[in-house]
Amino acid sequence: MNKENEHIRTNFYIDGEMDVDEVGEWVSEMHRDPSLRNETAEAQALKSLVRHAYPLEGEEKTLAWSNFFYHNRAFQAAAIALFAFGLGAFLPMDMETRSAPGDQVLVQSSDEQSVVIHIAEQDPANWLSALNKAESLSQRNVKVNILANSDGLGLMRTNTSPYANRVAQLAQKYPDLAFVACATGLAKLQRNGLDVKLLNDVKTTTSAIEHVAEKVSGGWRYLKI
């Protein structure tokens, strides 16, 4: 693949223009090729820069965070870990897990053993997958946060969650498994007149993106489901 094609394909990847198979191939390729991983991380960072440069009304906090981000080396490191290793290391694992669930073993390669599982889609199958993944990790004594924002908040709201009992059971069984909802997303739903009452075991965080950045900079791994 020449450089120009690589850039165009990278754009397809970060803009969500690839289908599932293409994403799988791309992520596998990133896993093998550090320069492609770097290229993808840079492209994603560039896209984030543009997004954060034009906040919506009331998103000045995000704007301030964006400035902070680019002047703070800890957060830069967190971002690169998020974009590069989060995509390059976790996604293949996840895809392989789907194809051969019994064959996968997570191996700890540092003292830290903590994972943020991020859900942002209105998809009960997706939520179930997040819960299964969280339980699987918790059984291995991995510290887990399931973080929901945007449409993923449905998992944690009393009147929309199809898995309220499962959430309660998991929270009771695994003290190191936390359910965290984005307060910014909840406020948006509330402004649209929706009921945002949360399940009992759900905590809130001011902003999902800040929560991820904070955790990743503290050595947690990030998994988007």
């Binding site: 969500g16 223009e17 991983r37 997004r51 919506l56 009304e57 830069q76 690169i80």
Partner: protein, 187 residues
């Protein structure tokens, strides 16, 4: 029942219209670089949307429809301002001066806005539709009334320019190799 359906659709339309206002302002601001003009353009787009509500066939298409109107408003503004300039892919560079033009180089947000404002109009429009509103390439092609291949090449060229212009910000980032791996998977 038909009357109730119509009333519901009308209510949904007005809610969508109201919710789109800040997004239209943001998009217009990214295109023109001026908050006052952005406000005028978004107001114009909202007024036209109200006038031509009947042209919207399905509320699911609302976003693409309203941003198409905004794009038309912006294009008409440029035509009034620069009547003899043809819109080509590369030649038509932005000539507006924004507060960001004299930005403090340390202010990253202002720098990004400045570099975005220096992109050719059509590349800037395409990039911001995809990056700010997350329109798919197909939707962006529909909004701007160009083939999807044009969207791909504009995105490619716009990001290449931004990458060069803002490269120093990214060079400060550590490479992925420097970051430690905490978990890996084995079979």
């Amino acid at each position: 029942m038909k009357i109730i359906d119509l009333l519901c659709q009308n209510r949904q339309f007005h809610q969508s219209l109201e919710k789109s206002r800040p997004r239209l302002q943001r998009m217009a601001r990214s295109w023109c670089g001026d908050a006052t003009l952005a406000d005028d353009l978004s107001q114009e787009a909202l007024a036209r949307a109200l006038q031509h509500q009947g042209q919207l066939r399905s509320i699911e298409k609302f976003d693409a429809w309203i941003f198409t109107i905004l794009s038309n408003c912006w294009r008409e503004h440029l035509r009034r301002k620069r009547p003899n300039v043809e819109f080509h892919e590369e030649e038509h560079f932005s000539d507006f001066h924004t507060p960001e033009s004299s930005c403090n180089e340390r202010d990253v947000v202002a720098r990004v806005r400045h570099e975005v404002s220096r992109l050719p109009d059509l590349q800037r429009q395409t990039l911001t539709l995809v990056d700010l509103e997350e329109f798919s390439y197909a939707e962006a092609a529909q909004i701007l009334d160009v083939p999807i291949g044009t969207i791909m090449s504009r995105i490619h060229r716009a990001r290449s320019k931004l990458r060069s212009a803002l490269g120093d910000l990214q060079q400060e980032l550590p490479t992925p190799r420097e970051a430690p791996a905490y978990l890996r998977c084995v079979k």
